[in-house]
């Protein structure tokens, strides 16, 4: 009888995750957050829906308002927005907590040498570890989704098929976010000698990806790095520094418009420069978002939780608009896992 090393290792890893106190704790927090977030979101959704319905009644009496109010039909997915925000923090921590010691623990307990001496290929070991983790993350995300749907049902909110698909997209995006940081932690676990260093490196990269890189998309930082937007002709802006500390700069910008007539050529130049500036800024923002897993996650979450209604984009449009974010959210864990795989295959056993 031939043993399937991949299945054996994946099974053990999956079981280890489910038995781990660390997983219990973070999963518990995740469930509580999901439930609380959904309760808050469901209450807000019910209120928004009531407001929308009352506005619809008003719009029926005044046809001129109908078009304005038609697009404001709240989406059930808006209830997931709050949960999504919290997921971007706890999910990230869960992913790192599940992966940072997967290989270093084997090194520290001296069991890696024995494991590799069994009739098993090296790639089965690292693949099995990843597969076990993926299974545990999928289970956790599945339970979170079920809990969220249960909470909604308790509030009498029943999603239709379109909303169920969007909820599923939210679930898949959440899974990919957690998996991204799980793969990152797994990579750090293969390159580090001990679990302490693996955790530290994982946190450093996590901070860079989720907090450091996105600051380049913020207007003040962007202006500091790439310059201020062009001033419109006949108008000057003066900034007065009010005070500063290590974390905050307070300033007041005062715009001054002269009464002189504006040269049309100058205005054209301004419009051109302004468009270029905005296009460049958008490119930088898009790149920053693509590099940051949480940025991609938030972009997907924002898109799927848009208000429903006649103007809501279809799946095709949604997928087209989010294609780069989806690809980035898939590519990043694949890259991390690929690096972890290559490193583990070259691991020096002595």
């Amino acid at each position: 009888m031939t043993a399937n090393g991949l299945a054996i290792i994946a099974g053990k890893e999956f079981s280890d995750h489910l038995r781990s106190r660390r997983f219990h704790l973070l999963f518990g927090i995740l469930i509580v957050i999901a439930a609380v977030g959904m309760i808050t979101g469901a209450v807000q959704y019910s209120k928004d829906l009531a407001d929308y319905n009352s506005l619809q009644v008003i719009a029926q009496d005044d046809p001129t308002l109908a078009g304005t109010l038609a697009g404001l039909n709240p989406s059930i997915l808006s209830a997931y927005s709050q949960m999504g925000g919290l997921m971007a923090i706890i999910g990230v921590v869960l992913g790192i907590a599940m992966g940072f010691d997967l290989v270093t623990r084997e090194k520290e307990s001296k069991s890696l040498k024995s494991l590799l001496a069994y009739p098993v290929f090296r790639d089965e070991v690292i693949n099995g570890k990843a597969l076990g983790g993926v299974g545990a993350i999928a289970l956790a995300m599945g339970v979170v989704l079920v809990v969220s749907l249960a909470v909604m049902t308790l509030f009498g909110i029943v999603p239709d098929l379109d909303e169920l698909v969007r909820i599923l997209v939210f679930g898949v995006a959440s899974f990919l976010l957690v998996f991204t940081f799980f793969a990152l932690a797994l990579l750090m676990s293969t390159v580090s000698k001990d679990s302490g260093n693996a955790l530290l490196y994982s946190l450093i990269v996590m901070i860079v990806l989720t907090s450091f890189i996105p600051i380049f998309a913020y207007s003040p930082v962007y202006s500091a790095v790439f310059g201020d937007p062009p001033d419109p002709p006949g108008r000057s802006t003066y900034s007065y520094l009010q005070g500063s500390s290590a974390y905050m700069v307070t300033s007041v910008a005062v715009g001054y418009t002269s009464g002189d007539p504006i040269d049309p050529e100058e205005l054209k130049e301004y419009e051109h420069a302004s468009r270029e500036y905005m296009a460049q800024k958008q490119t930088i923002t898009d790149i920053v978002t693509l590099i940051s897993p949480t940025g991609n996650y938030q972009a997907i979450l924002g898109a799927v939780s848009q208000p429903a209604g006649d103007n809501a984009p279809g799946y095709g449009d949604l997928l087209g608009a989010l294609a780069y974010n989806v690809i980035a959210l898939l590519a990043m864990p694949a890259a991390f896992f690929g690096l972890a795989w290559a490193r583990f295959m070259r691991e020096d056993i002595r």
């Binding site: 009888m1 038995r19 069991s111 024995s114 009739p119 002595r350």
Partner: protein
């Protein structure tokens, strides 16, 4: 059978194992001896397929390790020097996990785990391995090395943490294995242990095999450099005339002497004393023990 054919492993330009040629016949209990850094563990890691040789090859029962690592791993049982387990699992669970890789059925896994835990004296221990002493871990390591009923067993420093009872159990188990025709390779620096259980010995120094053979052959070889004969008499003894004497030291009263000879000349000394009417109190040939033999090889290699 274990075969190493010009096996070489180089780390950073320094050979850890240097052109090692070794053949261990089936059913042999072979002791691999050597000081720290001699290349014992590196040799073993290449034999169990954990590292690739820089050049040369090794095979187990005719299967080359580098090209067919999985087949080889199915045939061998390996206990590393720094034996490790999953601390949050019991001994049975650790053994069961190991047994899964060999495709054993659940019943077979349970039976083998139970038998092996009894064999190494860990039956009835229900705590997780995290609470085990080093000696208990070593016993469990031996059990795990035997989980697949291997044709070749490779043990790296197997008695390092064992108490006297554990050492006796280990010797019994190795002898049982040898009796069943299992080839056993024991790497150790505890020379007395190797000399007790091994039928032949190889001595490694700086990655090279500097001597090999059965214990008596090695001893005879070591004795070629000189035999020490201690003589004590009741009355002063004469100077001995033999061309084999290399050096001789006498006490002030000439009633005791330490003679180094090229070969055993104790008969000649006894005859001389008898002829002179001198009553001997002690006449002993000091054969080097395994430790001295080993040290003599190390010294030669260093020189």
């Amino acid at each position: 059978m274990i075969l190493c054919d010009h096996l070489t492993k180089v780390y950073g330009g320094v050979p850890a194992v240097d052109n090692l040629c070794l053949e261990i016949p089936t059913g042999e209990v072979f002791g691999l001896l050597g000081p720290n850094g001699a290349g014992k563990s590196t040799t073993i890691l290449m034999l169990v397929g954990l590292i690739q040789p820089t050049s040369g090859a090794c095979s187990i029962d005719g299967t080359e390790v580098a090209t067919h690592p999985i087949e080889v791993k199915r045939k061998i049982g390996y206990m590393p020097e720094d034996v490790g387990f999953y601390a949050d699992r019991t001994a049975e669970e650790n053994l069961d996990y190991a047994a899964r890789f060999y495709g054993l059925s659940e019943d077979e896994r349970r039976r083998r785990a139970s038998d092996l835990l009894t064999l190494v004296g860990l039956d009835g221990v229900r705590t997780t391995v995290g609470g085990y002493s080093k000696g208990m871990r070593q016993r469990l390591g031996l059990a795990r090395a035997l989980i697949n009923d291997p044709a070749v067993v490779i043990l790296d420093e197997p008695t390092a943490n064992l108490d006297p009872r554990g050492v006796l159990d280990y010797r019994r188990i190795v002898r049982d294995l040898a009796g069943r025709g299992t080839t056993v390779l024991v790497s150790s620096h505890i020379l007395s242990e190797v000399s007790r259980v091994c039928t032949s010995v190889g001595i490694l120094a700086r990655g090279k095999l500097i001597a090999s053979g059965d214990r008596d052959t090695l001893l005879r070889s070591a004795m070629q450099d000189g035999v020490i004969i201690s003589v004590e008499t009741r009355t002063p003894m004469p100077r001995f005339a033999s061309p084999d004497i290399l050096s001789a030291e006498f006490s002030q009263d000439a009633c005791s002497a330490r003679i180094v000879a090229g070969k055993d000349i104790s008969d000649h000394i006894a005859e001389t004393l008898y002829a002179k009417g001198i009553i001997p109190r002690r006449l002993a040939v000091e054969k080097p023990d395994m430790e001295e033999t080993l040290l003599s090889y190390y010294v030669e290699e260093t020189v």
